[in-house]
Symmetry: C2
Subunit: 198 residues, 2 copies
DNA sequence: AAACTAAACATACGGTCGTACGTATTTATT
DNA sequence: AATAAATACGTACGACCGTATGTTTAGTTT
């Protein structure tokens, strides 16, 4: 096989895996990574249960692949658009706005993927929990990194607080509180220094 | 039957129900209300699966009884001790301290019962979700009620913020961040007016 | 052309689940 | 003493679960 080409069998498998993962992320955002099952996914997608098992092997591997898929979708929807902004307050504001969009509009029908699954796995040691924790820490560290560009602020504590407010807003949105996004915005504004012109 | 007496059959059932619920609350704080099952509880307690089914009927009824049991334990551990304090900042501080104790020490081995279950049921309409939502709203309204005794504060927004921080601290504690309680305390202090003497 | 690999499927196994039904057993009512 | 009610248990049923095994098909390598 020459350098730039691909193995068609692996390509086919990767495509199938992606199809399954994309749907499984939606399922897991509502029913949790626990609620996933080979049979359910197979029925939803009209393929065989054994075929899905071939692609992922074990349920834990499926959960890990779904977590990874959610990570990529999250990065695409929240991180990448904000990366255009200059570091500091601008990028931070963009991250928060994109995050509220992400939680509100049903990119995932069950709301924030991490908020739905971390509380379930925080007491269950294993690679799935590790993946969720890594994602959570990376997100908070990203917030803290932007906050360090802003003077007069304790970056770690403020990052903790912003993350807490966003997570609470996600649940409030799930419960039908349409004003939750605005409440979160006003709450976050109080945590940051007065908005400077420009 | 005279007035003050009880039906011994109902008494016996109530005792059995309480035994099952007390253990089921622990299970549900770790594995969620979804993770409950008649068989699992029966094996844990050394009684028959059918006996538990007799006491609760359906799984949903079991979940509702467990939610109600958790509500009582929560009230006993957090609300009642704080009720001794005078309304306002004192009682609010007491509530927060008791809550942090409640989340840290394993009253429930899985941490805060509501934080573990609300994110799972927020997308599943039904009486279980309704119970969890009612508890959540009552807790936030309780915080807001105390905050209204404090001048210069938007009670609703601050209650939202305090609840958000406590919930985030609960998860951080579950993930091994032993400093989370202190972080939460410092965060909450910044939300309140300067501490006055006495 | 032959050997090999990955994907997809059909089938089967033991296990747990929620629920239903029949039957003692204990307690209360009549 | 006879009837009724609530608890407790044993058993059974269909459904789904995760996993294992063997087979067929598509694509690659030698």
């Amino acid at each position: 096989m020459s350098e730039g080409e691909q193995d068609g069998r692996l390509l086919r498998g990767a495509r199938s895996r992606q199809t399954v993962v994309r749907h499984a992320v939606d399922v897991a955002s509502v029913d949790g990574l626990d609620g996933l099952s080979f049979g359910r996914l197979a029925a939803d997608l009209g393929i065989s249960k054994a075929g899905i098992q071939t692609l992922f092997g074990t349920k834990e591997n499926l959960q890990l692949a779904v977590g990874e898929g959610a990570r990529e979708l999250f990065a695409e929807a929240v991180l990448r658009p904000a990366a255009n902004q200059p570091p500091g307050l601008s990028r931070l504001t963009a991250l928060i706005e994109r995050w509220l969009d992400y939680a509100g509009k049903p990119l995932f029908p069950g709301g924030c993927f991490w908020a739905a699954n971390l509380p379930v796995f925080d007491s269950k040691p294993g690679p799935v929990r590790d993946l969720l924790v890594r994602q959570q820490q990376a997100w908070r560290e990203l917030l803290a990194g932007e906050l360090r560009h802003i003077a007069e602020i304790d970056a770690e504590i403020t990052a903790f607080q912003i993350d807490a407010v966003l997570t609470a807003a996600n649940i409030a949105l799930r419960l039908g509180d349409h004003a939750a996004a605005d409440t979160a915005r006003r709450t976050v504004e109080r945590l940051l220094p007065e908005r400077t012109a420009g």
